[in-house]
Structures are given as C-alpha cells and as structure tokens.
Symmetry: C2
Subunit: 314 residues, 2 copies
C-alpha cells in the first residue's frame, strides 16, 4: 500500500539535528540576513492568500533588532536559510506584517493552506506551545531555559533536561465485514449528526494494538481484533501524533459509557458513501437535512480511514 500523506505530515524543512547542537551556529543563523521568522500571536499564524490558497507569511528581522533576549525557536533550514518561530508577544514591535497578511487559526486555515506550509505550521505550533507551558522544571519547580534553538529546556537549579512532548493517540475504524458496516461514535460537544472514528491517548505501558483494543472497548463495548496500521498524522492541538488503524469487530453489541460518548453506531457502506459525497456534510456545516450523517473533513485522519474503508482499501 503506498504511503498516505495526511494533512500536517511531510514538513520539508531540514531540522538540523547535528548542527543545532552548536549554540554558536544557532546564534549565527539568528543574525544571518537570510533567516526568516514566523511570529505567532496567541498560537495563530501570519498567512496570506496566494493563487486561491493560503501560504505562511514569513518576516525578516529588522536591522539592529535586539534578538538575544527573544526565545526564538529554530524550526530548521530551507535551502540553507534558517527558519525560526517566535512568540510575537516576546518581541513586541520587531516584526511587521505586510499589508496582505493576517493572523489565522491553524485548524480553520489548514484545509486551504499549502501542504508543505501546513507541516511547518504543525511543527511550529506544537513546539512554541510546549515551550510556553514549560517555563518551570517539573522535577524541582525552578525556572528552565531553552537550549540549542529550543531542542530542550534545561533547569537552572537541578540537572534535569526536558524535551518537547508528543502524545501518541490511536484512532480506529472498526469494520464488521460480514454485515458490511463500520463503527463510528460521537461526543456530546460535536455538531448534530457528526460521527467519527473512535480515538484515545495511548497509555503508559501499552502497545498501539493494546491501546486500540482498550479504547474501542471503553468507547463502544466492541471487541477489536486483527488491528492493522494504516497511516499517521501530526495533530498539533496541542501535540498529538495520530496513529490511524483499522480493526475487525469480534462482537456486535454496542455498549458505551454515557460520560464519554454521546452515541455510537454501526453505519452501512451506503450511509458512509452518501455522506462522503456531500462536501457540506464533511465540513460539519449547518444546513444539512435533519438526521443526516456528517463526517470529518479531509484534513482529519479519520476521513482518511473512513474513506479507505468505503473505497474497499482498508
């Protein structure tokens, strides 16, 4: 099966694992005239319209800017030029947006954002958010500081070094082959009619397959058997790695915890195909007929997994 590239995958930057170990090299990149910066405002991104789609709007550092006190995070290089993300609030007035750019929410903009730029933005959002929320050492409570362009934070008081976290999540479409139907669920906070694949964080001491079986059992009461990996997706809200799977149903009777799920049902292939053919249904937009099934849009790996089953490639 050829690799499926989900939205936010395929970031084209060179993360420079070797060269960034040299703090002096990072400092030189920061001051190089070719360096480009992505100033984030409350985790929204500067973007501009280009040819009907959106692109990230990078900034240059003004001559004489006092960058040393700014916690600029090195994303990597592109054709040898360094790319940094920075919290705009930490460098007030240093970065001027061009007239055609504005700050956009990544989740809202992703469906129309250039694919490579979506990958860079996913990296930047997870990276900056983690740094903002890890100013203190979890071991001893003292302040920490970023090193090597942000690859980790070192405690100023104890020997602890902290690395950005990535939280693996399993997301699964369970298939009842005999009755040609698949299992989807919904949470109470979702728009009416919206259903998706069952998902949850992988717990400590679990394999991917263990986690799929536990999450499916917890959310639906169904036995998931024959778990098979399909594809994966960075999901930077705030720092998940979505691990997409299909599994077969080892039982048929649905039984769920109403604290966790609002509804869980079997859907026939025709019901899924009908919904996938309505673009409005995939975006969870209002105006759907009463009772119509709405599915996640193409930016979500749930869409990939559901479509793969509907197309007979799961």
């Amino acid at each position: 099966m050829p690799e499926h590239r989900n939205t936010f995958a395929g970031n084209p930057l060179d993360r420079e694992a070797a060269r960034r170990r040299d703090e002096e090299w990072v400092g030189t990149q920061l001051r190089d005239a070719s360096a480009e910066f992505l100033p984030l405002r409350s985790l929204t991104f500067p973007m501009r319209q280009v040819d009907g789609g959106m692109r990230l709007a990078w900034s240059r550092l003004p001559v004489g800017a006092d960058i040393d006190r700014h916690p600029a995070l090195l994303l990597g290089t592109s054709n040898g030029a360094a790319r940094f993300a920075i919290n705009e609030a930490a460098a007030p007035g240093q970065f001027e947006l061009s007239d055609d750019a504005s700050f956009m929410d990544l989740r809202a903009a992703a469906p129309v954002l250039d694919g490579d730029d979506a990958g860079i933005a996913a990296q930047a959002r997870a990276f900056l958010d983690w740094h903002e929320r890890h100013q203190f050492c979890a071991v001893c409570g003292a302040p920490t500081e970023a090193v090597q362009g942000g690859i980790s934070r070192k405690c100023r008081s104890c020997p602890a070094e902290h690395f950005p976290r990535t939280d693996p999540v399993v997301i699964t479409v369970v298939i009842d082959t005999e009755r040609d139907r698949c299992l989807l669920g919904r949470q109470a906070s979702w728009p009416a009619g919206m259903f998706s694949a069952l998902a949850g964080f992988i717990d400590h001491g679990e394999s991917i397959e263990d986690a799929v079986r536990r999450e499916v059992a917890e959310e639906s009461g169904i036995d998931a058997v024959n778990v098979r990996y399909h594809s994966s997706q960075p999901w930077p809200f705030p720092s998940s790695l979505m691990i997409g799977c299909h599994a077969d149903a080892g039982s048929a009777d649905i039984n769920y915890d109403e604290w966790e799920m609002d509804d869980v049902r079997w859907f026939t292939r025709d019901e899924i195909r009908d919904s996938l053919e309505q673009p409005a249904a995939q975006l969870g937009q209002p105006g759907l007929p009463e009772g119509a099934l709405s599915l996640p849009g193409p930016m979500a790996i749930a869409h990939t997994l559901i479509t793969a089953w509907a197309d007979g490639t799961a």
Copy 2:
C-alpha cells in the same frame, strides 16, 4: 500478518478508565482486603522464582496501615481486585517482602519474567517514574498532586492538569532488496560487536513515516523509502513507545555523524542468520569471537524486526 506481541505488550489488567474517575471508588479499592500492592524500590521490582521463571511478588496492606498519605497509583483491576504500584520509600515499613522475594531490575529480569507480569511492570515503572519526576507544575512552578489514582496531576496553584507522557520512538530496519542485505548501526557505549536497528524519538510535527526518513538519513545518510509498520512495544526506560518499521533503501552510500553513531554497516542475510543462531551473541554476552556480530536479544523489538527480515517476512 498476525500481530506480533513484543515483550512488555499485552498487559492483562483492566485500567478502569470509567470507575477511576470517582475518587471515592479509588479510596474504597485502596482499603479493600483484596487489593494488592507492588512496592517499587528505586524503580526495581519485588519478584520471586516460580517454575524456573520469575513472577511479580505482590503485597497486601497490613491492617491499620496509614495509606491515606501514600501516593498509591492505581494500575487497574484483575478479576475485580485492585492492583496498585507504590514507591516503597513513601510507605516505609508498610510492606513486608516474603522470604523468597527480592528486588530486581526490570530490564535485567524481563527475559525470564512472565509475559503478563512484564506488561504490568512496564506500566508500573513508566507510571511511577513519571509521578516521581513531576512533583511540580511546568506552567507555574507550584507543587502538584496526583488525582484519580494517578491518572493525572493537578497544580495546587494554577488550573493546569498534567498527564503522564509516553514518548513515541521510531525504530527501523532498512532493507537493500537487490543485494539482500540490511542496515544496522551501533553507538560507542554498546558492547563490542553489538549492532541494532536505527532509532530515534519522533519530533513534534512529524508523522511516523517522516520520522523514519529523518532518523535513517541522520544516522546513516541512506534514503529510506516505502516505510512499512511492523509492530510496537512499550519500553518503560523511562517511557517510550517503540514503533517498529521496515523500509527499503533508496540509496547505498553510508554517511553518518560520528557524534551520534560509532559505526553503521550493511549486513548480509547470512551474517544476520549466523548471529541469530548463537544465543550468546543475542544477549551481548562476553566471550564472543573477535569481530563477531552481536544483535539485541528477543526482549527488544529490534530483534523482532531483524528476525522478520532474516525469515523473509519483512
């Protein structure tokens, strides 16, 4: 392909995601006569020999014990009876080990530990270690406290809630089909002659496949193409999730960073098979002939991935 159960996968406990939300239920379990405890000493485990292998040695709480002040972590239930892990140092003198039990290092004992018990120990080790190292809030620096039997830690000062982390790692055997050889590397700290699959942490904003390509390129200079998932493994040293893959080689010339790798080489199928047939070589034991290839033992997913290729199932 049937699922491969790696060491530490397949923990049989019910993690009780729903019932543990009720603090009162957790407290009742703690005092129930059927509850069993695993007291860890500096992250080593009480074990006893049973029928030539090893089993975890569980303890009961003595009558009248003052458990309220102990941060006991609820692992889950087995046949309705609760199982807890606890740092022995936090409950001095409360748990008495039977005469036939002693504290063992999990990595050393895993090859002879019962498979279900290895899964429980992996959960306990990752869980307890995370709690020990997250006594303070990374957002504000104030003390935190465990809730719901340890499912998270809440800050006593700000609204932050912190969950145990699991760090996804990609580990890959790259295959050169045309010349029937596979790519392995070694680090300078390993025993002489020991080689293994290439591995590294998944970075923020990376898919599994992106991470495989980057890590293989960084550690060997080889282009990894056609990445395929094989199986996964919890690796609680301290909290990794190993994601095992095979990939094809898109290039042949090895080029590595000597800071990161001590040696990287292509090995023929005969070289790999010869090594796998020598049990001593798989355990990295001394006494191997000069220049002999040593591979990771069966408890490591690297062994699974290398063996799958050698057996023609990769």
